[in-house]
């Protein structure tokens, strides 16, 4: 293993290709930390944005005008403003409004840290798109299928949970898939509020070691792999829940 790391030192000396995270244990630690932060942030946001999408689409079908309006307002706000600015907004503006708590060093610090805010703002951002995606899926479920559920005595929530949503899910999976891919890529924005994810640590490494191109290539490879994994898993899933006789 050590020899492996030393080889990259040699590579740098000989060719100028500087992959510090192989031979420098500090950079390696940062890089691994960044990698897992990205994964963790992605997973958290994938989960919550999907929940937001499902609940939002359900609320959008509500009979109460104001519920629908609030959901629409939410969607329009988050879709039409840059997520980077949203993140600032959550962290600096809302973060300031929350009560502070004493931390282990005896300082008053904000109740929610930057990771939490990044997760919240990215979930809301992707969630806004998810609501629309689920809505389109729900609209594609034939009225007659919903009626059949009603005729069997399902109430509104039951027919949504057991019939409409499972079908809508299959219809909108490709679109959802796409949005989730975007979400994973968008987690890079968390670097703006100092969440130590991949872009953030890469940025630190390239400012320390002047190896911007190498780090960019690294980022490219890592993200294409990560997203590729997600796409692959989603496709597997898509196939697994595919309904015979439907879709193309």
């Amino acid at each position: 293993m050590e020899a492996f790391f030393v080889w990259f030192q040699w590579l740098y000396d000989e060719t100028g290709v500087n992959l510090t995270y192989f031979y420098d244990s500090f950079d390696r630690g940062r890089m691994i930390g960044g990698f897992f932060t990205t994964i963790w942030l992605s997973v958290v946001c994938l989960f919550f944005s999907t929940i937001i999408g499902i609940v939002g689409a359900w609320l959008q079908g509500s009979r109460l005008v104001w519920t629908r309006r609030i959901v629409q307002g939410y969607i329009q706000f988050f879709r039409n403003t840059p997520p980077l600015v949203q993140m600032y907004f959550f962290f600096f503006a809302l973060g300031n409004l929350l009560p502070r708590v004493k931390n282990e060093f005896g300082f008053m610090e904000p109740m929610l840290g930057n990771f939490t805010w990044a997760a919240i703002s990215l979930s809301f951002f992707a969630g806004a798109f998810n609501v629309e995606i689920f809505r389109s899926g729900i609209e594609a479920v034939p009225e007659s299928t919903r009626e059949a559920a009603e005729a069997l005595g399902y109430n509104r929530l039951q027919s949504y949970m057991y019939v409409v949503l499972p079908l809508a899910f299959r219809v909108c999976l490709p679109a959802l898939n796409n949005n989730l891919v975007n979400l994973v890529k968008t987690t890079t924005l968390a670097y703006a509020i100092a969440v130590p994810e991949l872009l953030y640590v890469s940025n630190q490494i390239w400012s320390d070691s002047v190896n911007v191109p190498e780090m960019m290539v690294t980022l490219l490879i890592l993200y294409v792999a990560l997203v590729g994994l997600l796409v692959w898993a989603m496709h597997r899933w898509e196939r697994a829940i595919r309904v015979p006789g439907y879709g193309i």
Partner: protein
């Protein structure tokens, strides 16, 4: 898969037409909600917050007047954002549409090649693509001794057009594949060739399905133009950072300034979103 849509549950087509008919009976589109009121409320809140901040530091210049002072500069930056988003969308859409059609080509190599290109550019982070454009494209090109400069914002346009292209490609492919196969068969049995079928039968039916994801993509792209700072474009976010720094890092400026920028984006993008809904409905009535 795609931004795009939907391997549609077959009966949906019928049902949607039903709704369109109902809308026609009512004598026009049944209006969806108006997010505007809520938003204006938010705007007023933001401004009052700014004003309050201004009163706190009495001897300092008021937040509002600082914002006004810098507005012309920031607007110049915002113009870059809009120009980049517009050009990248046009370029990306044209190339992406071709790529999407190639994805359903009957020739396996064409199909595989365009699939690969699409997947690669779709999965790579935008920032990294932008950086490579900055890095790989020269700052000027010489054609027959003529030096054509490639300013940063052109590079940024190029860098952003790549992911747009990949996304459009997926949108087009998804939409084409969501058209029931009966449409292909009946065109075939009427002796349409593949090109005629595609352009006269399939594509017109795809428009409605493609519009929402396409406009979503434009929204995402517009928001992503702020990344152009990486290639050195003085777009609005970069300038905002520089302005805040020029004001000496006053902590009461950060939120008002970013809210201000937020508002600009909203004012630009929201009407487009409304217009999409309108267009979608327009196409829905006809099908």
């Amino acid at each position: 898969m795609s931004g795009t849509d939907l391997p549609v549950l077959l009966p949906a087509a019928q049902r949607l037409t039903e709704r369109a008919r109902r809308e026609r009976e009512v004598g026009g589109p049944i209006p969806r909600l108006q997010a505007r009121h809520g938003v204006w409320l938010a705007v007023i809140l933001i401004f009052s917050a700014g004003a309050a901040g201004a009163q706190a530091g009495a001897e300092q210049e008021s937040v509002l007047s600082i914002m006004l002072k810098w507005t012309p500069l920031l607007l110049k930056g915002f113009v870059f954002n809009l120009a980049i988003s517009f050009l990248a969308m046009v370029g990306g859409t044209i190339v992406g549409a071709l790529l999407g059609i190639w994805q359903i080509s009957l020739l396996p190599p064409v199909r595989a090649g365009s699939w690969l290109v699409t997947q690669f550019f779709r999965n790579a982070p935008w920032l990294v693509l932008l950086f490579f454009c900055m890095f790989l494209l020269p700052f000027q090109v010489e054609v027959f001794g003529l030096v054509i400069p490639l300013p940063d914002w052109i590079k940024a346009t190029f860098g952003l057009a790549l992911p747009v292209m990949a996304n459009v490609s997926e949108i087009v492919r998804g939409a084409i594949q969501s058209i029931p196969s009966g449409q292909w068969e009946s065109s075939e049995s009427l002796a349409f060739n593949r090109r005629q079928t595609l352009w006269q039968i399939i594509m017109p039916q795809c428009i409605k399905r493609m519009l929402p994801p396409w406009m979503n993509l434009y929204a995402i792209l517009t928001m992503a133009t702020v990344l152009a700072s990486v290639v050195g474009v003085s777009e609005v976010m970069t300038l905002t950072g520089q302005v805040l720094s020029a004001e000496g890092g006053r902590t009461d400026l950060l939120v008002p300034f970013y809210s201000y920028i937020l508002l600009w984006f909203f004012i630009y993008c929201y009407p487009i979103a409304r217009w999409t809904v309108h267009l979608e409905r327009h196409f829905a009535v006809k099908t």
